[in-house]
């Protein structure tokens, strides 16, 4: 289906893809793994014909569809209208007509998505990513490329996606799956390709490798084992809010943003809510400041780039040019440094906080609210974010972690609350949560 030979693509001084050759056959599910900035997305954009390679050749049979990590939807239009936009050529139709077509396309894709008359702006991120997928499948591509498709999906939705991928492969579609999550890669891929620094560094059939060796190939060193719970905290704690996406997590985070302006807020949707892509790193870091002094800001940004190991050309680089993980580090640097500079924050944020549900309150006043802080990040960046949050807790900060990644919740949290239809459960210890979480997330009393 796709044959790439000696492909190289540079952006400015950065070699995003460096002499990569890769062939993907009909009916094959190939996982492309690697850290943020390893060149996976760039390589696949070349494969899909979105970018022209600087060197090398591309041979492609049939259409290739790339489902982006960032949504390419028109927020003001409905699900049905967004699907109708993909229709080639001119035609007359009616609202009813395109809604019927949309329902047919959704049914044919095997993905569950209801309410085609809803505007995209009203959809949860999970639903949006489903819509992107349906859009791509509806065009009947010979090759389907999915960029981090599971980062916004619940476990059940992920299973559903894998079923769809297997069915498409069975029908002869070549499927490429870009991911950081090794268990998922092993669950669905037949062949696994590892990229690092723009090159393919390992390639093997799924049954011939294991997670440890893949992780080693990705980061070029053995990944550290998750460490034991930090000890010696004074007052600091991490409370995780878990639940199926769309149960009020977004509203809770937005409400805390408005009610606790003094706290650090790490938003769920970093490209929309976290980063001003057109501003520089220095400017993004300074948005919370009282004063804007370009020279000071540049020096501060240089320190932050070093402290948070942000991979950037310098403080004056456009934040939008950074990879997702590095954008997240910029947000983290802005928000965490801010609370660090203001030890009086706990007084500022002393009112008890009401949860979105009518009756339940959070059992804490968070100084840091982190919503899906590691969504779409690679192993290295995820570990970095986790370390930062642990360190803040060890320094006495109370942290609210809103996450749909249960592993993350259990790895970090001192207490867990489940959110379901806008209501929070009682505070559970991790041990209690391990027993009850499935029931609570499903809303079974």
């Amino acid at each position: 289906m796709i044959h790439l030979a000696h492909v190289t693509k540079t952006f400015g001084a950065t070699r995003a893809v460096d002499d990569v050759s890769l062939a993907i056959a009909r009916g094959e599910i190939v996982a492309l793994v690697g850290e943020n900035g390893a060149g996976k997305t760039t390589l696949m954009r070349v494969a899909a014909g979105e970018l022209a390679a600087d060197a090398g050749t591309l041979a492609r049979e049939g259409r290739a569809e790339l489902v982006h990590q960032h949504f390419m939807l028109v927020n003001e239009l409905t699900i049905a209208e967004n699907l109708a936009l993909t229709h080639p050529g001119f035609r007359f139709t009616t609202r009813r007509g395109i809604e019927r077509e949309a329902e047919a396309a959704i049914a044919a894709s095997g993905i569950e998505l209801r309410g085609v008359a809803r505007r995209v702006a009203e959809l949860s991120v999970g639903e949006r990513s489903k819509l992107e997928l349906i859009k791509a499948i509806a065009r009947r591509p010979a090759t389907l490329i999915l960029d981090e498709p599971t980062s916004v999906l619940t476990p059940a939705e992920t299973e559903e996606l894998f079923r769809v991928m297997r069915r498409l492969a069975g029908e002869g579609t070549a499927v490429v799956f870009i991911s950081h999550k090794l268990p998922e890669v092993f669950a669905v891929a037949q062949r696994i390709v590892v990229m690092r620094n723009g090159r393919v560094v390992a390639e093997s059939m799924a049954q011939d490798t294991n997670a440890q060796s893949l992780a080693n190939a990705m980061v070029d060193r053995a990944t550290a084992q998750p460490r034991d719970r930090a000890t010696g905290r004074a007052g600091g704690e991490i409370v995780a809010i878990v639940g199926v996406a769309g149960n009020g997590q977004t509203e809770l985070a937005a409400r805390l943003r408005d009610e606790q302006p003094g706290a650090a807020h790490i938003p769920e949707d970093r490209t929309r809510d976290g980063i001003v892509a057109e501003l520089t790193i220095a400017e993004n870091l300074a948005l919370r400041n009282a004063r804007w002094r370009p020279r000071e800001a540049r020096a501060h940004a240089e320190r932050m780039i070093a402290r948070y190991s942000i991979r950037a050309r310098g403080p004056l680089q456009r934040a939008g040019d950074l990879s997702g993980g590095n954008q997240q580090k910029v947000i983290l640097a802005r928000e965490l440094e801010r609370t660090r500079c203001h030890p009086e924050r706990s007084e500022e944020a002393s009112r008890p906080t009401r949860a979105p549900g009518p009756s339940l309150t959070l059992g804490m006043t968070p100084q840091i609210v982190a919503a899906e802080p590691t969504r779409g990040l690679d192993i290295e960046a995820t570990r970095f974010v986790h370390e930062q949050l642990r360190a803040e807790a060890a320094n006495g900060a109370s942290i609210l972690l809103i996450t749909s990644d249960l592993d993350e919740a259990f790895a970090l949290a001192d207490a867990i609350q489940v959110i379901y239809r806008g209501r929070l459960s009682e505070r559970l210890t991790p041990a209690e949560a391990a027993e009850q979480i499935g029931r609570l997330m499903a809303g079974v009393a």
């Binding site: 976290g274 980063i275 501003l279 400017e283 300074a286 948005l287």
Partner: protein
Amino acid sequence: MSRLLSAVLAAVAAVLLLAATAALFGHSPLALLSILVRSSVGSRFAIEGTLLKSVPLLLTGLSVVIAFRAGVWNIGGEGQFIVGALAALAASRFGVVASLLAAMLAGAAWASIASAMRLWRNAPEVLTTILLNFTAIHLLGWSVNGPLRERAAQYPQTDLAAAALPPLASGIHSGVLLALAASVATWWMLYRTMEGLRLRATGFNPFAARWAGIRVGSQLARAMAISGAVAGLAGGIELLGVTHRLFERFAAGYGYSGIAVALLAQLHPLATIASAFFFGALVTGAGELQRTADISAGVATFGQAVVILLLIVFDHVRSTR
């Protein structure tokens, strides 16, 4: 294609297209270009004329730069220009400074009506500012025919303003310096103050701005007010420096032309100086074409339109690279 290059190309292409179009109607393009250049920058007198036209264009251009940078679509420069001039006339007996301050306040207040309608009824400012233009135009028309009509009651115009901007040289008033200072001040505000950083952040991404603790609604309202103040100042300076009295066609489209000026400058306050001078030259040259070659001075508007269209095309080319 760099932003500067696409701006220069658009400007050059607009002038060439203008000449080519004139050729279609039997005029010699070279002769036209020569008239255009000679009458706009070919002599000291020509340059003075161009400068006089550039001053209001520069200020209304800056007004648009500020608003568009914040992501608020202030199309109301024309109306703010007019109410600014009305206020300047009313306050002119307190001196030039008071008169110009009144112009800025009035422009800001007029623009803020649109902000208020946005906040209370979510009315889009593209619409409300345009409607406020018509309101201002009719307010001016009524004023010069009614309460503000000159004592001689001969023409529909006001008496001379009680103050005037001191001349800089023969034919040039000191508003030129004020306009240049306004460019630098706008640049300083946008790129050297927290207000400017917040304004730009809000314009680029209001969602992220909100998460970063910026109160987006009041940020937009402030940007609109500042933008209106600069357009009002343009009206005040035009009154005190050039016309010295008001009449129905006083605004002459300066408010709308500011959009073309700002877009050609790629929304940069210092580039707006060059952009305003270019359009000022175009307007001056077009006036001469009308006198000597019997071509409507409307070709200046044609030039503006071509520049905007070309910029849109170039932007598209750039973004799809």
